[in-house]
Symmetry: C2
Subunit: 205 residues, 2 copies
Amino acid sequence: MNTETSISTEEAILMAARKVFELKGFDGARMQEISDRARINRALLHYYFRTKEKMFERIFDEALERFMPLLSTWDQDLEECWEWKLKRFIITFITFLKTNSMLFLLREIIRKPELLVSKTEKHRKKLNKFVLYFDRLKQERLIRSDVDSRYIYVIIHSLCSFPLMNGIVFSYSLRISPKEYDELMTGYPEIISDLLIQLLKYQKN
Amino acid sequence: MNTETSISTEEAILMAARKVFELKGFDGARMQEISDRARINRALLHYYFRTKEKMFERIFDEALERFMPLLSTWDQDLEECWEWKLKRFIITFITFLKTNSMLFLLREIIRKPELLVSKTEKHRKKLNKFVLYFDRLKQERLIRSDVDSRYIYVIIHSLCSFPLMNGIVFSYSLRISPKEYDELMTGYPEIISDLLIQLLKYQKN
DNA sequence: TTACTTTTTAACAGAATTGTTAAAATACTA
DNA sequence: TAGTATTTTAACAATTCTGTTAAAAAGTAA
């Protein structure tokens, strides 16, 4: 087997598959559409990935493996102040989400909840780092202590994730083009970083 | 035709269809599963709704028709202070979203973007009420003027919508059961109302 | 050129799904 | 009870999609 051509073909297939699965979901995706996008034929598709199921699993796993590490950064660079940490997280996360569809993951998890449990067991332990970190910030009186850290978690993630996955709807609701919406959103990470910092900062009185 | 039994059967079908479409999406939904849920047989399903397509259209339209009115409440009760207005919106919206899947709409719109345009034309005009209202609040120096009203729109909607549609993932990430997450979320509308009010309130200095 | 690998072509089997139909069974109403 | 409307049963046609196969074609490297 010539590894080089195989890999580029395999990569073409994976890129195409990812795109189609993200757009249409597992049930709506068609092997034909994937092979069209990869500019190969359907026989070759099955030659590289035996079944649609296996191909999906690969795409889904890779998506999760890209995603999970982002969630366990809260115990790194502990000397960094929380404002910077937060800001950096938000910018990194939003940048990441521009090329990684959260909706894809969510849709498939809702279709088949086992996907979440089976594929993330090894990351499970790391998931409480956020809450630990923010509870600590409260103890140290660096941030306000009257908001449950789990709410803070939900708030930050909602503010990062939803504007991107709901882009079509938001741009329609705001009566601007998707392009204009994208442009509007370039300033968004800065804005919410600053707002969240204002909001969370410990209030002296 | 005996209208009463028909309506109850039709309603059973619609309820079942809605549930299945919300869970599986159009492509993943099976007529068999819908008729099972409605406790009737597949022949009767087609007797009431000729095709899957037509049934879906009905479900989707109804979902949009429930949804859209919520977005055009910003020019009602103008004597009410903006804090109350905001709080009322948030509570109403979140309550609504508990029984109306935003993910369903989003998934189908992404699958087939025409759905959004074709089905909401008549509501399109009303969609700028939010921005108009908040721009006015800024003029009157009731809220801070350094945040684009469109960002405020995105922020409020993200904070309302995402925690519910991402419930499975959040409860997993926070390592609590879905039930515990629901309980946690009962306090959520109050919290974000208050936080948003703090954040938006006009700052004297 | 030769040997080998990759890719295409074209055909097909099998399964799942949608939608239809006719006749029988059941439920309802006058 | 008789007549009407609703629902079930069971079978079927048509289509779409997945996955397989064998042989041919094209590409690559020695």
